[in-house]
C-alpha cells in the first residue's frame, strides 16, 4: 500500500468516525467544558454570567451548605441501588435458568415493570407507600401489624422504600437480561465436573457460575454505579422530593434545585463538575479493586 492509499484509507476511517466525534464534541465534550467554565460564574439565566472565580466551590464546601448532606445521600442511594439491582437481577436471572414450563412468560413478567417510565413507577409507589391510604400498610394491618411505618417520611424506612422501588427499575431489568445471557455461556462440562465431585446446587453456583460470570458482575456493578449517580433524580424527585428533611436530597436533585428552582446555574455547574469527578473516581476504583476479584479465564 503506497502513501496515497494509506492517506485515503485514513481519511475514510476518520470520515466514518466523524459523526460520533462531532456528536461527542457538540453534545458531550462541549457541554462539559461549558459547565466547567460556568461553574466559575454567577449566572441566574436571565442576565449575563459574572465571573466569580472559585466562590461557588468555596460556598459548596462551607459549613451550613447542603452539599455535604447531598453527597452523603448520594453515596447511600448508590450503595443501596447497586446492591439491590445487582442482587435482584442475579436472583431473577437464576430463577429464569431453571428448566420449567412457561419460562418465557416469567421472563416477560419479570422484565415488564422495567420498561415502565421511572416517573410513573415512582408515582405508583408513592400511593402504595402512603401511610394511611397505601395498600402496603393496609396489608400489614390485615396481618395484625399495628405499628405501620411512615415509609416515605422516616429517615430509615425511606431508604428501604427506595431499595424496593429499585427492584422494578429499568436498570435491574437490563441487568437481569445480561446475567441471563451470561449464565447460558457457562460451559456445561464445568457443571458436569462439579456434579461428579458431589457439589450441591449452592456450591455449583458459588464455585462454577460466579467465577465464570464475574466479569459480567463487574460490568453490571460499574454501569449500575454510574447509572445510579446519574439517574437517581428520576426516582427520588417524584417519590420523596428529597425528604424527609433533605434525607434523600441526592446530588442530581441538588443540582436540579440549584439550576431550575434557585436559578443559580453557576452553583449547579459546580455541583455537576464535582459529580463528574466523583463518578469517574468511583468507576476507576471499581476497576482497580476488581482486578483481584474478576476472573477473565
Amino acid at each position: 500500500m503506497n502513501r496515497a492509499e494509506r492517506m485515503k484509507n485514513n481519511l475514510a476511517a476518520y470520515g466514518f468516525l466523524s459523526p460520533w466525534f462531532i456528536g461527542f464534541l457538540l453534545f458531550t465534550g462541549g457541554p462539559i467544558i461549558a459547565s466547567l467554565v460556568l461553574s466559575l460564574t454567577r449566572w441566574n439565566l436571565l442576565s449575563p454570567p459574572e465571573f466569580i472565580g472559585f466562590r461557588n466551590y468555596i460556598t459548596m464546601f462551607s459549613p451550613g451548605s447542603g452539599f455535604l448532606n447531598s453527597l452523603r445521600a448520594t453515596l447511600i442511594y448508590t450503595v443501596i441501588s447497586v446492591v439491590v439491582s445487582v442482587t435482584a437481577s442475579l436472583f431473577m436471572a437464576t430463577l429464569l435458568n431453571f428448566r420449567l414450563k412457561f419460562m418465557g412468560f416469567f421472563q416477560f413478567c419479570f422484565f415488564i415493570p422495567a420498561v415502565m417510565p421511572s416517573v410513573a413507577l415512582a408515582f405508583v409507589f408513592q400511593l402504595i407507600f402512603n401511610q394511611h391510604l397505601g395498600i402496603l400498610n393496609y396489608g400489614l394491618s390485615v396481618i395484625g401489624i399495628a405499628a405501620q411505618p411512615n415509609w416515605l417520611n422516616d429517615t430509615f424506612w425511606v431508604w428501604v422504600s427506595l431499595g424496593i422501588v429499585t427492584i422494578f427499575t429499568y436498570s435491574t431489568g437490563q441487568m437481569m437480561l445480561i446475567f441471563n445471557a451470561a449464565f447460558k455461556d457457562v460451559p456445561q462440562h464445568l457443571y458436569e465436573a462439579a456434579d461428579i465431585e458431589g457439589a450441591n446446587y449452592v456450591q455449583r453456583f458459588w464455585h462454577v457460575t460466579m467465577p465464570y460470570i464475574s466479569p459480567i458482575i463487574l460490568f453490571n456493578v460499574v454501569v449500575g454505579t454510574v447509572n445510579s449517580f446519574n439517574t437517581a433524580f428520576s426516582i427520588v424527585f417524584p417519590l420523596t422530593g428529597g425528604g424527609p428533611a433533605n434525607e434523600t436530597t441526592v446530588l442530581s436533585l441538588e443540582l436540579y434545585n440549584s439550576a431550575f428552582r434557585m436559578f443559580n446555574m453557576g452553583m449547579a455547574s459546580a455541583i455537576a463538575t464535582v459529580l463528574f469527578i466523583i463518578v469517574a473516581t468511583v468507576g476507576a476504583i471499581q476497576f482497580r479493586v476488581s482486578k483481584k476479584l474478576v476472573h477473565y479465564d
Binding site: 400511593l127 402512603n130 394511611h132 391510604l133 394491618s141 399495628a146 424527609p244
Partner: protein, 412 residues
C-alpha cells in the same frame, strides 16, 4: 443538472410553505399564546367569552400542569415564552428587572377598562415591587380555609366551627372527633398539612410577619409557637396524622373531619358524598391567611404586544373578571367584582358560608409567595421534620431559618 434545478425548486417551495405556516395570515385573526398552570385548554369559559367579543384575536393556551414557574423561566430563557405570561409573584420582579416583560403603566393609564383604584389593599404592595413600574396585573387571588365535615360534627354532637375559632377551639374539636379502634385511628380530627402554604398562614397567625419589607424571612416566636402547637396535635394528642404527603386526601376520603386547604379546593370537593362547609382559618394571636395570585404580564419578545394587551385589558374588565372568577372559583382582586360573588361555585353538599371569603380581604397578606419557592418549600420540609421527630424546634429556628436566609441572600 435538471434534477438539481428540480430539487432546488422543490426545496424553495417547501421552505416557502413552511414560512407561510409560521406567520399569521395578514387578513385573519392574530393568535397569541397565553400560559396558565393547571390543565386548561381553549374551551375554558373565559377564553370562549373573550373570543365571543373579539374577532381579531385568537387565544392559544399553553397549559403547564406541573412545575409552572420552572417551565416558564426556562421558556423565557429559551425565547419561547408565550405572548401573555401569567407570572407568579416571585417571578414577576425577576422578569421585570431583566427586561423580559413589558412595563404596563402607560397602557393601564390609557385604559377605560382597568381600574387600579378598585384593587384590594393587599395587592398594592406587590404590584409595585419593581422600582415604581407596573409590570403585571393580578388575575384573581386566593387564600386558605378550614374545611369541615358536617356529618362528622353532627355524629359527634359538636357545634360547627365559627368564623372566630381559635387554635384551641380547633384542637379541642379535633380531639373530640378523633375515633380510635385499638391501636389504629379510624377517623382523624384534623388532616395533616398537605399544602405547605398553610404553615405560613399559621406562622402569621401566631404573630410573625413571615416576610419583612426587605423580602427577608421574619420568623421566630410565631414559628416556635406554631411548631409546638402542631407537634402537640400530631404526637401528644394524636388527632392529626404525621405528614405523609403524596397523593392522598384524608378529608375527601372521609377519614378526617377537618382539613386546611386553599379556597381552590372548593370546586375540588364539589362531589364528595358528605355535607361540608368552610370557615376562615382559626386564629391565634391574630387572624391571618397567606394570599396567592398570578399576574398578567406581556412577554417583551412578543410579536403582538398590542393584541396581548387587548386580551389582558378585557380579562381585567368587569366582564372578564366575572368570567375568570366563575371559571377559577377564586375571587377577583377588584373589589367591585368580588362583591358580586361570582366566585361562589357551590358543590352538591357545600359550602354555604360564603362570607368566609371576606376574611381574605381583611386579614390576608402576600408573604411567602414573594420568596423563592425552593427555599420556602424546603423550609416546609423542615417544619414537617419536627412533627416526624427528625429535627428539633431549636434546630429549625437556629439552623434552618438562617440557612434559608443565606440562600435568599445568594439570589440577590
Amino acid at each position: 443538472m435538471k434534477k438539481i434545478f428540480a430539487l432546488c425548486f422543490l426545496l424553495a417551495v417547501a421552505v416557502g410553505l413552511l414560512a407561510a405556516c409560521g406567520n399569521d395570515d395578514a387578513d385573519g385573526p392574530v393568535t397569541i399564546r397565553f400560559s396558565m398552570w393547571d390543565t386548561v385548554d381553549e374551551s375554558a369559559s373565559f377564553i370562549q367569552a373573550f373570543h365571543a367579543v373579539q374577532d381579531d384575536i385568537r387565544i392559544e393556551i399553553v397549559s403547564i400542569p406541573e412545575d409552572y414557574s420552572t417551565v416558564i423561566n426556562t421558556m423565557v430563557i429559551g425565547g419561547t415564552a408565550p405572548d401573555v405570561i401569567l407570572a407568579w409573584e416571585v417571578d414577576m420582579p425577576r422578569f421585570a428587572a431583566n427586561g423580559n416583560i413589558l412595563r404596563l403603566n402607560d397602557r393601564i393609564n390609557a385604559s377605560d377598562l382597568v381600574r387600579m383604584d378598585d384593587f384590594m389593599a393587599a395587592v398594592d404592595g406587590i404590584t409595585d415591587v419593581t422600582g415604581g413600574g407596573l409590570y403585571g396585573i393580578p388575575w384573581v387571588y386566593a387564600g386558605h380555609f378550614l374545611y369541615f365535615n358536617k356529618d362528622m360534627f353532627d355524629a359527634a354532637g359538636i357545634p360547627y366551627p365559627t368564623d372566630n375559632w381559635t387554635w384551641d377551639d380547633m384542637a379541642a374539636a379535633a380531639q373530640a372527633l378523633t375515633i380510635r379502634d385499638g391501636a389504629s385511628t379510624t377517623q382523624w380530627g384534623l388532616a395533616p398539612i398537605d399544602f405547605g402554604g398553610i404553615w405560613y398562614s399559621m406562622i402569621g397567625q401566631a404573630g410573625d410577619a413571615v416576610v419583612d419589607a426587605n423580602m427577608n424571612l421574619s420568623m421566630g416566636p410565631g414559628l416556635r409557637r406554631t411548631l409546638e402547637f402542631m407537634y402537640r396535635l400530631t404526637n401528644e394528642y394524636q388527632v392529626t396524622p404525621q405528614p405523609g404527603g403524596g397523593l392522598g386526601d384524608l378529608f375527601a376520603a372521609g377519614m378526617a373531619a377537618m382539613t386546611r386547604q386553599g379556597n381552590w379546593f372548593v370546586p375540588g370537593y364539589a362531589d364528595v358524598p358528605f355535607r361540608w362547609d368552610i370557615v376562615p382559618l382559626p386564629r391565634d394571636s391574630r387572624a391571618h391567611t397567606a394570599l396567592h395570585t398570578g399576574f398578567f404580564t406581556i412577554n417583551a419578545q412578543s410579536d403582538h404586544p398590542e393584541e396581548a394587551w387587548t386580551f389582558i385589558e378585557w380579562m381585567m374588565s368587569y366582564n372578564g373578571q366575572r368570567e375568570l372568577s366563575q371559571f377559577s372559583a377564586n375571587p377577583s382582586a377588584m373589589m367591585s367584582v368580588a362583591a358580586q360573588g361570582y366566585h361562589r361555585v357551590a358543590g352538591q353538599h357545600g359550602p354555604t358560608n360564603w362570607g368566609a371569603f371576606d376574611y381574605f380581604n381583611h386579614y390576608g397578606a402576600f408573604t411567602f409567595v414573594l420568596l423563592n419557592s425552593s427555599v420556602t418549600g424546603n423550609l416546609v420540609s423542615q417544619f414537617d421534620s419536627v412533627l416526624l421527630g427528625i429535627n428539633s424546634i431549636d434546630h429549625v429556628i437556629n439552623v434552618e431559618i438562617p440557612a434559608a436566609q443565606r440562600e435568599l441572600d445568594a439570589l440577590r
